[in-house]
Symmetry: C2
Subunit: 394 residues, 2 copies
Amino acid sequence: MRVKGFSAAAVQAGIRYRDRLDLGLIYSDVPAVAAGAFTTNLVKAAPVLLDMERLRQGRAQAVLVNAGNANACTGERGMEVAVATAAMAARQLGIDEELVQVASTGVIGEQMATEPFARAMPELAGALSADGFDDLARAMMTTDTRPKTATATVFLDGVEVSVLGVAKGSGMIMPDMATMLCFVVTDAQIVFPVLRQIVKSGVDRSFNRITVDGDTSTNDTVLVMANGAAGNPWIDEENPEAARIFAGAVHAVFRELALKIVEDGEGATKLVTIRVTGGRDAESAMNAAQTIANSALVKTAFFGEDANWGRIIAALGRSGCVFSPDRVSISFDDVLMVQNGQGLGRAAEEAATAVLGQRHFTVTVDLGDGMETAEVYTCDLSVDYVKINADYRS
Amino acid sequence: MRVKGFSAAAVQAGIRYRDRLDLGLIYSDVPAVAAGAFTTNLVKAAPVLLDMERLRQGRAQAVLVNAGNANACTGERGMEVAVATAAMAARQLGIDEELVQVASTGVIGEQMATEPFARAMPELAGALSADGFDDLARAMMTTDTRPKTATATVFLDGVEVSVLGVAKGSGMIMPDMATMLCFVVTDAQIVFPVLRQIVKSGVDRSFNRITVDGDTSTNDTVLVMANGAAGNPWIDEENPEAARIFAGAVHAVFRELALKIVEDGEGATKLVTIRVTGGRDAESAMNAAQTIANSALVKTAFFGEDANWGRIIAALGRSGCVFSPDRVSISFDDVLMVQNGQGLGRAAEEAATAVLGQRHFTVTVDLGDGMETAEVYTCDLSVDYVKINADYRS
């Protein structure tokens, strides 16, 4: 899919890897309205700090993204590098450098050389194309096994508006943003405050609901750019219906990318939805869902296709969520496995084990204590997760 | 080592496993002063609930412990089983059943048959011996690869007092007590309030400072029994010096057992001390240490012997601990790897990598922000951890 007025490209810059795309660029023909969400980690990488500062103006025209080096924990020199690489892109594109966002993913704590950027910039800008987003998605990959894109189209007052997103991420993922980069471009015409609100509520329901390993990164970035090329009537506070429809499209793209990230979690073989229902309050239901979704013992049981509900109950019990153990029920998809806190025996277990053999399934934990619900998406913890992370830098 | 007036035994009862010890008994010739600490998990197994109730009297004379079934999430029937097995032991030993403590470890959520207990009880009681604690330590094992015992001896007013502890535990370990059973017997003569205080402060500094996988169990139990057979002058509030010396012995046994549990963590190849110094307050220093110690990415890096300090910084950043990233330093044993938030380069990294090749090492994270210190003991996350936990019930 193409989005009017946007182009992208990627090249082999040799930042760390050889013979693969590792540097990408997104460009809008005109300055776009832009809103973002960034890591909540106290330690923020230089590009994140720079982007947050620049996004205060609510506008951006280009994004320069590299893999191989996260430019995190690199001090003042790291910030100089972020500013310098953004300036190179601005010069090449002939735009204001304040309109360039930068994003980096890869190893933490190593200074990033600017020479590969300088060498690659002419080729990169020259390759910009409306069809370049697939290449861009590939250039962002680290331990990802596949590029991740998602699209949506809506009609606003009869005008077609397109939304295209690319993302990367597979480890260090946790509900709080993680080593996860997501860029969404749209030709919608929209005012900044409404776009910002749509990004915020969308992140809460998508990227902040996924977990691979409970770790959060220094570099997480979600950035949405809207350049208005579709020519739809302005989406603003006076036009809540258009805002609602457009938000639906953006949120669908967010959600699809978020689930693709979990599904491609490091070493993951299964995508599991943890749904907690019957909670007394929303916070404790979410807390319970997150504790289950992050439990190493629960996740290894998923990997082993073992309907080990005892580990789920044990995780629930340490979550801080207040509930009555003798009212809890647990289902794997439609198979009720635990009722009133007790297992339903061999036949239920066999049926549940069959559910665990699937690539996707939902674990529903009903606390039997109220009306609140929470949902988190996780994956299993496999032998390959350990192998990938033990060997990452070697 | 023997402890006056205490005996122990273990037999093959066939509760779940075949051809191995799985049922053990500790017996004191006289009712002993007893104090315990139990899981903080909201979901508590039947034996834990029974023990907590019975320990209110501050006395116990026997402990019946089994492996293979945790008798957790088993409802009213599970409590009946716990009471019934304790009554069998009491009848066999000719003591008050209220003086029998029970402990179970193994699979959660399956009803436990009482027949194996009934069949084994005469042989078990008949085998009681002052030298039986090694067998007992073996009978408690689940995924443990070796039995865990520790001893200490002190002189109180010229009288020799012995302390002997046995423990099991290797997964589901987290600072809050975990599937961990620990029984300590001593011939000290001590009043209940002082013993209770010594147990509480000791648990805080030992078992509550270790983590294998961040999960906590429904069955954790620490129980200390003191039968007074040594004939030392009473340890009580009037005798703080004796209490101090005796506490030192109990705490040394706790600490030795706690470290043995981490060292035998499921799949662990390394025992790692995480020490956070320079914290502004004690709580956030502890929070930082625990977050680092539980990070899957940090632990897989230990397994891979990769001095990946970026992951340590990232874990620190999401811990909730307030600090200045540009003041942080990180050392692996004596090797300074990070100063003022930045890596010290290739030579430091090579020296740090050598440290990570050891079986034991300490990671010191100095926040440079105050005087508070916290220490947590963890292990690496290995391929075998996943294999063990994916296959546990099969």
